[in-house]
């Protein structure tokens, strides 16, 4: 079928403008060989980084050594709108003096609900302060959620996104343990299921509380 073939030029002959200065952008100059080596070079570099990452045996769910044992970032977060008198906001200074569990949560986050009973359990421990950072949430949703499921937090800071960047948060939920001097000592990404609570969180708290 001849009409199947798209002719090289579908314009009527009088519409074709054959002028001078035809830019030939193909079939002209040839790129150097080095350019052809670029893709494999980039790939090998990336592969080396990934291999190093995997062989170093680091668990991506843990805070990398670059930040662990460093002081908690400087931040100051306002309380939830409408709850100014019920729950104070959260700032760096509030993390000193006590072993503190900093829990990022949001009412829209399903895994947060899954870990909530464990957070409530943590808040009942003696000598441990549990504080919350409410991430990208609507105040009325956050309040309804906390009223419905219980409020384990001594302080709640509202974070529109900036705080999560300061803390290097990957996703919701995420939990940090800060020692009495205000240094981050542990980080967990994802929900604190009962096993994580017993095997990871509680031992760290016990060690830091000594």
């Amino acid at each position: 079928m001849a009409s199947n073939e798209v002719a090289p030029n579908e314009l009527a002959p009088d519409e074709v403008k054959v002028g001078k200065g035809v830019e030939e952008i193909a079939g002209g100059r040839r790129p150097t060989r080095a350019l052809y080596l670029l893709p494999v070079g980039i790939f090998m570099l990336l592969a080396a980084i990934v291999a190093y990452f995997m062989l170093s045996g680091r668990d991506p769910r843990l805070l990398p050594s670059a930040l662990i044992d460093k002081p908690a970032p400087t931040f100051k977060l306002a309380p939830i709108a409408g709850w100014e008198n019920r729950k104070p906001g959260l700032a760096t200074v509030d993390l000193k003096g006590k072993v503190t569990v900093v829990n990022f949560f949001a009412s829209w986050c399903v895994p947060c609900l899954a870990e909530h009973p464990q957070i409530v359990a943590l808040s009942k421990l003696k000598g441990v302060q549990v504080v919350g950072i409410n991430y990208k949430d609507k105040p009325e949703n956050a309040k309804a959620w906390l009223t419905r499921h219980g409020n384990p937090y001594a302080r709640i800071g509202v974070d529109g996104g900036r705080g999560a960047i300061e803390w290097g948060v990957y996703g919701m939920p995420e939990t940090f343990i800060v020692d009495r001097t205000g240094r981050i000592r542990f980080k967990h990404v994802g929900p604190i299921v009962p096993d994580i609570l017993n095997q990871k969180i509680l031992p760290v708290i016990r060690k830091l509380s000594k």
């Binding site: 079928m1 073939e5 952008i25 193909a26 060989r33 052809y36 790939f43 291999a51 609507k138 996703g171």
Partner: protein
């Protein structure tokens, strides 16, 4: 016994794949026809063996053979039959087996339908396909054997994750894998062409249908995944820029670029080494997608169970496959010479523009997905890259892409006239201006991004219609003549138009649902009403009832608008006793222009329920658009010039039966 047959078939398959990946390649190098001919039966036998293995695992799931670790961990006797079957690929080991099955299906199809290919190209492509098969079959056998037995079989299994017991997600992996693995064909052809040292229009014509099929399936797979997220996760969103979502999106972008650059190779014999590179990259990104989900390198909400030895094995596969093919590319690609030349403003130029933007878009997603990892590895600390980054970088790239998508098809090959093209699109331009003004007038928030998005959608849709009308000279010649022209247009032309229109529909859906979603999240007692975007939702209370393997609470809402009944929404909350897990099933009533969406949460002490009510304008269009794009792909595939296995060589350019023994 059946499981052992499956395991044995898998071992045989890896041996056959080993033969397929070496002997025909050697034959092609030596110019030995009988050795090359071995590729075809080898690929067919490999398909048969992998199908037996897959059948054996499916059988174990259907009869609930809990003496297999895999079945015991992921199935349960009380599960509906559909989910017993789809449970086969809802876990790591089974999904890898599905991956290899699809790979073998593509290999078998190439073996059976590739009669018109030059024997050496056919043999080499099948060999490369065989190598991919060897790698993944070995991966399954050594690190992820689905046929492993338990010494003591449990009385019942631990069940499938309830979130996955859903029709949308049940068929999400097969389509996604048809897409991912489909790009292996483009990859095999690219590597074979590099070995041959020859890329010509005939080559592009053989590669395009496979790429098109892979791209179309990937479109459907991604759409199914996001649709599932929309109605199952229950927070009204449909895309989260999660690493795993990005992993499926990157091959889609690269594959889209490949589809278009292959046209330039086919029509103009130019852009050859770029097209070969894209073919390698599209499959490389598919492999990276497989890798990201399983390696544990990236933290993600839906990462599979992770295991470092698996991660290292896959990294090894990646280094050999991608590193090897890119090295071959660096060695052989400089010899590929283009014969066609063209001006910057031309159909080819527009396709290069498309490629440039799609590649940059793909690179943007790649950087956003991997940057946190790379930064962390070099000790730069941990950062998160989320939706704000992607929205900020993606929209500026997509905007010129969509503008160009409308103009490109109206430009002539070789040298086009941009002003003449725009002149032909003046109707579309008019429609765009009207819609932009209308949006600005209707949108009380004066959201410029929304105005922009809707204008782009209309511009693309209208331009595509105008271009199609122009092709059949609608209005400028007798109607009968237009019909004759319409019947004479190649299906590929319709395919392109339909796919571009689908893209426009999706843009409209994305824009409207992001800009004008109305929500109400609150507690409601039975009898109370809530107003969302002019709709009255009356909460009628919650009833309980049993399901096949769960108990459900049904929350009923009666929706009215200005007193007239609109819909009755029944939102479910299911509890699966085996896994002790809850899922939400959103109630959705669609008017096709908007979705009314209701989810029930938990009961509060005073007899109220937490509910989420949404009015999502145009949200169904996102998936309708994806379906239309898929249909466009299929229409294009049905074009007789592209029909799989029946490519005619248009140019009388004799390909040697046996290639010069260089590779």
């Amino acid at each position: 016994m059946i499981a052992e047959i499956g395991h044995f078939a898998l071992i045989l398959a890896v041996l056959v794949a080993l033969v397929q990946s070496t002997i025909p390649l050697f034959g092609a190098w030596r110019g030995d026809a009988p050795l090359m001919a071995l590729a075809k039966p080898a690929a067919q036998v490999q398909l048969l063996l992998v199908a037996v293995a897959f059948g054996a695992l499916t059988c174990a799931y259907v009869v609930s053979d809990f003496s297999l670790i895999n079945v015991a961990r992921n199935s349960h006797s009380a599960k509906p039959l559909l989910y017993k079957i789809t449970g086969v690929w809802a876990n790591h080991e089974g999904s890898m087996l599905l991956w290899v099955l699809i790979l073998a299906i593509f290999g078998g199809a190439l073996a059976s339908f590739g009669r018109n290919l030059p024997p050496s190209l056919h043999a080499r492509a099948l060999s490369v396909q065989g190598m991919v098969g060897v790698a993944f079959l070995a991966f399954i056998l050594f690190t992820s054997n689905p046929f492993e037995r338990l010494s003591v079989a449990p009385a019942d299994g631990s069940g499938l994750n309830p979130l996955l017991q859903d029709p949308g997600l049940a068929f999400h992996p097969p389509f996604l894998y048809l897409g991912y693995v489909g790009f292996s064909m483009a990859f095999s052809f690219a590597v074979a062409a590099l070995l041959e040292g020859r890329v010509d229009p005939a080559w592009a014509r053989w590669v395009r249908p496979w790429t098109l099929a892979a791209w179309a399936f990937l479109t459907l797979g991604i759409a199914l995944g996001s649709w599932w997220a929309y109605y199952e996760l229950g927070w009204g969103g449909w895309w989260f820029w999660d690493p795993v979502e990005n992993a499926s999106f990157m091959p889609w972008l690269a594959g889209g670029a490949l589809l278009h650059s292959a046209i330039v190779v086919e029509k103009r014999d130019a852009l050859k080494s770029w097209t070969v590179l894209l073919a390698i990259i599209a499959f490389a990104l598919s492999l990276v997608g497989t890798f990201l989900v399983r390696s544990g390198v990236l933290t993600s909400v839906h990462a599979f169970a992770t295991d470092p030895s698996r991660g290292l094995f896959i990294l090894g596969i990646l280094v050999v496959a991608i590193g090897g093919s890119l090295t071959l590319y660096a060695w052989r690609a400089p010899q590929l010479r283009a014969t066609g030349s063209f001006r910057l403003v031309s159909r080819e130029g527009a396709l290069i523009f498309n490629n440039l933007l799609l590649t940059v878009a793909c690179a943007t997603v790649f950087v956003g997905t991997l940057y946190p990892l790379v930064l962390d590895a070099v000790g730069g600390g941990k950062i998160s890259v989320g939706a704000p980054y992607f929205n900020a970088t993606f929209i500026p790239i997509m905007t010129p892409l969509v503008i160009g998508m409308a103009i490109g098809p109206t430009l002539a090959w070789k040298r086009g006239d941009i002003w003449a093209s725009l002149g032909r699109l003046k109707l579309a331009l008019g429609a765009t201006v009207i819609v932009a003004a209308l949006t600005l007038w209707l949108d009380s928030a004066r959201d410029l991004a929304a105005v922009m998005g809707m204008s782009l959608a209309v511009w693309l849709f209208a331009s595509t219609v105008v271009e199609l009308a122009g092709r059949i000279r609608l209005g400028s010649v007798a109607f009968r003549e237009s019909i004759r022209r319409a019947l004479g247009l190649p299906r590929a032309a319709y395919g392109m138009s339909v796919a571009h229109m689908g893209f426009a529909i999706t843009i409209a859906g994305i824009t409207a649902s992001s800009a004008w979603q109305a929500e109400s999240i609150r507690f409601m007692k039975p009898g109370e009403t809530a107003n969302v975007a002019g709709y009255e939702f009356r909460f009628d209370g919650v009833k309980e009832g049993p399901g096949p393997n769960y108990v459900a609470q049904f929350g009923t809402f009666t929706v009215t608008r200005e007193g007239r009944p609109v819909a009755t929404l029944v939102a479910e909350k299911r509890f699966y006793p085996v896994q002790k897990r809850q899922t939400t099933e959103a109630a959705i009533h669609t008017t096709w222009l908007a979705d009314l969406y209701a989810v029930i949460g938990d009961a509060s002490k005073g007899g109220g329920w937490s509910v989420r009510l949404y009015h999502n304008p145009l949200v169904p269009w996102i998936w309708i658009g994806a379906l239309v794009m898929f249909a466009g792909g299929l229409i294009s595939l049905s074009d007789r010039r592209l029909r799989v296995g029946a490519p005619r060589r248009i140019r009388a350019r004799p390909l040697p039966v046996t290639s010069p023994a260089k590779a």
